[in-house]
Every structure is written in structure tokens, then in C-alpha cells.
């Protein structure tokens, strides 16, 4: 519970930060923390403004289909997304045919069911192909 409370302003609305000194948008998403302290580009400390990633589109840098992971929608497709305007993150991909995945494809973000743990459903951001 404590971990989820610490993450509620970052993980749920998919907020990262933008460094005030070098202007680099960045997410910090690990299982031990979602709070950036040191800019990954210029290494300035704690000089950020909040930056919303949820409404950004992006381009797939890489992906893989995991056939052993189980999950809601096997094979589990994970993709690294380079966001328009800067920043990157790795997310599961949904609403897609594995065959259509390609490096360079365009995606947008969506909030979906992630897992069911000890009687509770959890949700998180995933990406999906941009469709006209």
C-alpha cells in the first residue's frame, strides 16, 4: 500500500518530470521508486517541473513478444516508446496483432488492467497503435 501511495502522483496519471536546467523530459519508473532526483541528461539534482506523458504519442524503438509471461493478452508484447517531445518508457502493448509490430510504428497511451493480485485488480498505462 505504501508503495502505491508514493506512486499515485506519477504512475497513475503517468507524470514524469522535465529538467529545468537542460529541458529533458524523463520518466522514472522502477518497482522501488517513481520519483526522479538526478536528471539523466545533465545530472542536476531535484530541479524539475512536472511533465505529463499520458497525452503524448510516440514511436516504437524496440519491442518483443514474450510467450512465457502469461498475462491477460498473450503473447505479452512489451515496447520501448520514444515520446514526441522527448522522454522514453517501456510499456506493454495492447489492441494489436503481434504480426503488425514494427520498429518505427506510432503509438499512443491508454490506461488498462494490468494484473490481479491478492483480490485486487491493478491498472497501468499501456501503449496501443495509433489508428485513424
Amino acid at each position: 500500500m505504501a508503495a502505491q501511495w508514493r506512486e499515485h502522483e506519477t504512475a497513475i496519471p503517468l507524470y514524469g518530470v522535465k529538467c529545468r536546467q537542460c529541458g529533458t523530459p524523463q520518466l522514472f519508473l522502477s518497482q522501488s521508486s517513481t520519483r526522479a532526483h538526478i536528471c539523466l541528461n545533465c545530472r542536476a539534482r531535484d530541479d524539475f517541473e512536472p511533465y505529463r506523458f499520458a497525452d503524448k504519442s510516440g514511436t516504437v524503438r524496440s519491442f518483443s513478444h514474450d510467450y512465457l509471461a502469461g498475462g491477460i493478452d498473450p503473447p505479452t508484447t512489451a515496447a520501448v516508446i520514444d515520446f514526441d517531445g522527448g522522454g522514453r518508457g517501456q510499456f506493454l502493448m495492447v489492441d494489436r496483432d503481434p504480426e503488425e509490430c514494427q520498429v518505427g510504428m506510432r503509438v499512443e497511451m491508454t490506461f488498462r488492467k494490468l494484473r490481479h493480485t491478492l483480490g485486487a485488480h491493478t491498472y497501468f498505462w499501456k501503449c496501443k497503435p495509433v489508428r485513424d
Binding site: 517513481t34 539523466l40 513478444h65 510467450y67 512489451a78 517501456q90 503481434p98 514494427q102 494490468l114
Partner: protein, 398 residues
């Protein structure tokens, strides 16, 4: 300015257990097996050991080895640094001798994974009620992304890419067949490799190393002591580690075509050892082939192959046992599996044997010699990665 380890420490003796499904042995049993092989090889007894290091991801504190070996009140440190644990344990032991604090020290690496009953490392997700929101990932998925990007960037069709990485595993299995300590000693064909079930696209079953049980040990000393007791001992030429800031998944500057930690550790190691042209000067290498694509990319990161060109070298047999730069001469992680705490030391063991002309001590009966003709410089590369593709560190013994 950092100093150099070159020619300041020597390996007096080593041991290595058979790796694999060691249902017959606990971690403690494996530790005793490896350590006493090393004592015998060094010609010393445990009472001459002044300090010890143990590399393990599942053991706990220095007692992991002081208990089974009944070490008598000497300093013992447990080292853990993901898949590079054993190399880092070795590195720490070497620095203690080079610092002039100890004359003879012991390093043991050990892990037992097979008792868990699963074949992979799982996803490392946080268990229990305070489960993080963040999804987990898996090693095959993380490293598979190197392959996805590599195939796309260099214009390899799916078939061409699969054949390139499959050929890497094929070569390692050919070598593992000759090694009586390997977990997997079977003859695996290219057809089996290419038709194997998918694990994480595009990596199939034979593109992935398995988990395993095993232990290895080394006794490290000064070159003076080593020369007094052995003819022409093996000397350490370089030890480098590069720990990534782990921002590959968040920083658009990372290209998913290389491993920066390997590149930087290699640069420093070559400088420390005085190597200008690794492709020409290195006689053999044991690298971290957790996945076939990892080995392929590592050949470029180590400057064995030009960037983007490793496919030619792989397909031409450049890295085969009878090639110009043999890699994974013992079969690698592919055939030994990956008991995390032991792997780096198992790599050093193979270099140690080959450099001394003793490779056939572990030859499987009925197979041709696995000894390389006159190797001079051996390199080990051990890559740690807590579920990211910008992994933590690489370490070298040259």
C-alpha cells in the same frame, strides 16, 4: 587517477564443479567440491588462506562459505552484483592482494537454481500486498529487444537474423559437447535451433541460456609467491567494471544496438592491459552469452568485430573453436547454464586451463582435443542486468 592491476596478481589454483542439475548436492556441497579442487590445484591447504570472498545471489553473508569450509575466523565478504557477481568477487580478492594486505586469498562463486523447479529467473516482481504499480519484465524480453532493433537497423530479414543468432548457439553447443563439466552436452543442430519454440520474440529456446547449479573457486596470490611454486603462472592483466545509470529505458539516446557498460569496461580494460587491437591480440574469450543476441552484440562492443558487421564473422566461423578468435571454448553459459554467483569464475577457469595447456583435463572421452594451440591472452566478460537492457556491469580478466 586510477592505478593498474596489470601483472600485480596471479592465480595459484582453481577448481570448478560439474554444472547442471546437481540434485545430489547442496550449495554447501558444491562449495566444498570447488574449493578443495582449488586447494589441490594450488598445492596449499585451507590454513594458508588469509581472506576470502564469496559470490552468490542466493546465499547469505560470508557464512555461505565459512560454514561448510569451517574457515577459522578470517575475513569473509559476500559479493553480489547481479550476473557479474563472480567476476566482481574475483576483482575484490585481487585488489586485496595487490594492495599488499594479504598474500593468499580464496574466491568462491556458487548458486543453486534447479531446486526451485523452474527454468528461468522469473520476473523479479515485488510480491505481497504492497505490490508496485509498475509492470515487471523478464531477462529474455529485455535482451530480445536488442535483436529486434539489430535486425531492423542492419536490414536483416527475420530468417537472416535468426540464422545469425542461431549460429552463435550452434557453435557453443559444438564446444560444450567436448566438456565433461557442462550442463548441456548434447549435439544441437541448426535445424533444432531455428525451429525451437519461441521464448520472447525473436529469441527461441536455444537462444536462451538455462539456469543451473554450480560452483567454481580461485586462489589468488602475488606473482612472486606464484612463481616460487609454479612454472609460468597465469597473471591478471586488467580488471574493469562499468556500472550503467540504468536509464536505457528512459533515455532516447540509447540505441538498443549495443551495451554501453561493455563498451566502456572494455575500453578501460584494454588500456589497463596495453591492448591496442583486440581482434588481433586476444587469443580467446569467454563472454556473457545469456542470450545468443547478447554474445553477437558483445563481439562488436569488445571491438572483436566492426560495429554492425558481426554477422559476417559469425557466419564465417571466426569465433569457432578452430577460428581466428575462439569464443565460448568451454560451451559458455549456453552449455553450462547460469548459476549466477559462479559463472564469472567458470569463465576465468576456462581461460586459466587454456592458457596453461590443460584444457583437455575436462575433455569428454571420445572427443577430439579442445585445447587451443598456444593461446597468450584470454578475456572474460561477465554482464549483470537486473532486468534491463542497459545492464549493470562488465568485468575483465585478461
Amino acid at each position: 587517477m586510477a592505478g593498474s592491476i596489470k601483472d600485480r596478481v596471479a592465480i595459484l589454483g582453481m577448481g570448478c564443479t560439474r554444472f547442471g542439475e546437481r540434485w545430489d548436492a547442496s550449495a554447501a556441497d558444491l562449495i566444498v567440491e570447488a574449493a578443495y579442487q582449488a586447494f589441490e590445484d594450488a598445492g596449499i591447504g585451507p590454513d594458508e588462506i588469509q581472506a576470502a570472498w564469496v559470490g552468490t545471489s542466493t546465499g547469505n553473508t560470508g557464512m555461505t562459505i565459512s560454514e561448510p569450509l569451517r574457515l577459522q575466523y578470517i575475513p569473509v565478504t559476500r559479493v553480489e552484483n547481479a550476473c557479474a557477481t563472480a567476476s566482481d568477487a574475483f576483482r575484490n580478492a585481487c585488489y586485496a592482494v595487490a594492495a599488499g594486505i594479504y598474500d593468499i586469498v580464496l574466491v568462491v562463486g556458487v548458486d543453486k537454481f534447479k531446486d526451485a523447479g523452474i527454468s528461468g529467473l522469473g520476473d523479479g516482481g515485488t510480491p505481497g500486498p504492497s505490490h508496485s504499480m509498475i509492470p515487471e519484465t523478464t531477462p529474455p524480453r529485455s535482451f530480445a529487444m536488442l535483436a529486434t532493433t539489430y535486425f531492423a537497423k542492419y536490414g536483416l530479414s527475420y530468417e537472416e537474423g535468426k540464422h545469425m543468432i542461431g549460429r552463435v548457439s550452434w557453435k557453443s553447443h559444438q564446444n560444450g559437447m567436448r566438456n565433461k563439466n557442462a550442463h548441456f552436452q548434447g549435439n544441437v543442430t541448426m535445424e533444432q535451433i531455428l525451429n525451437a519454440p519461441m521464448v520472447s520474440w525473436p529469441l527461441g529456446l536455444f537462444d536462451c541460456c538455462g539456469v543451473s547449479d554450480g560452483a567454481a573457486a580461485a586462489i589468488v596470490t602475488t606473482p612472486e609467491i606464484a612463481r616460487a611454486r609454479k612454472k609460468d603462472p597465469v597473471l591478471v592483466k586488467a580488471l574493469q567494471i562499468a556500472m550503467a545509470p540504468r536509464d536505457g529505458n528512459f533515455n532516447q539516446q540509447y540505441d538498443f544496438l549495443h551495451v554501453e557498460a561493455t563498451v566502456r569496461a572494455a575500453e578501460k580494460a584494454y588500456e589497463e592491459a596495453g591492448i591496442k587491437n583486440p581482434r588481433e591480440e586476444i587469443s580467446m574469450a569467454e563472454v556473457h552469452d545469456c542470450f545468443s543476441i547478447t554474445e553477437a552484440v558483445t563481439m562488436e562492443d569488445l571491438r572483436f568485430s566492426p560495429r554492425g558487421k558481426v554477422r559476417d564473422d559469425i557466419e564465417n566461423g571466426f569465433f569457432d573453436l578452430d577460428g581466428k578468435l575462439p569464443v565460448q571454448t568451454d560451451g559458455g553459459l549456453k552449455c553450462f547454464g547460469h548459476p549466477i554467483g559462479a559463472s564469472g569464475l567458470r569463465m576465468i577457469y576456462e581461460v586459466y586451463l587454456q592458457l596453461q595447456g590443460r584444457a583437455d583435463e575436462v575433455l569428454n572421452p571420445g572427443f577430439p582435443s579442445r585445447q587451443l594451440p598456444n593461446p597468450k591472452l584470454g578475456l572474460t566478460h561477465n554482464l549483470g542486468g537486473p532486468r534491463t537492457v542497459a545492464p549493470s556491469l562488465s568485468a575483465f580478466l585478461v
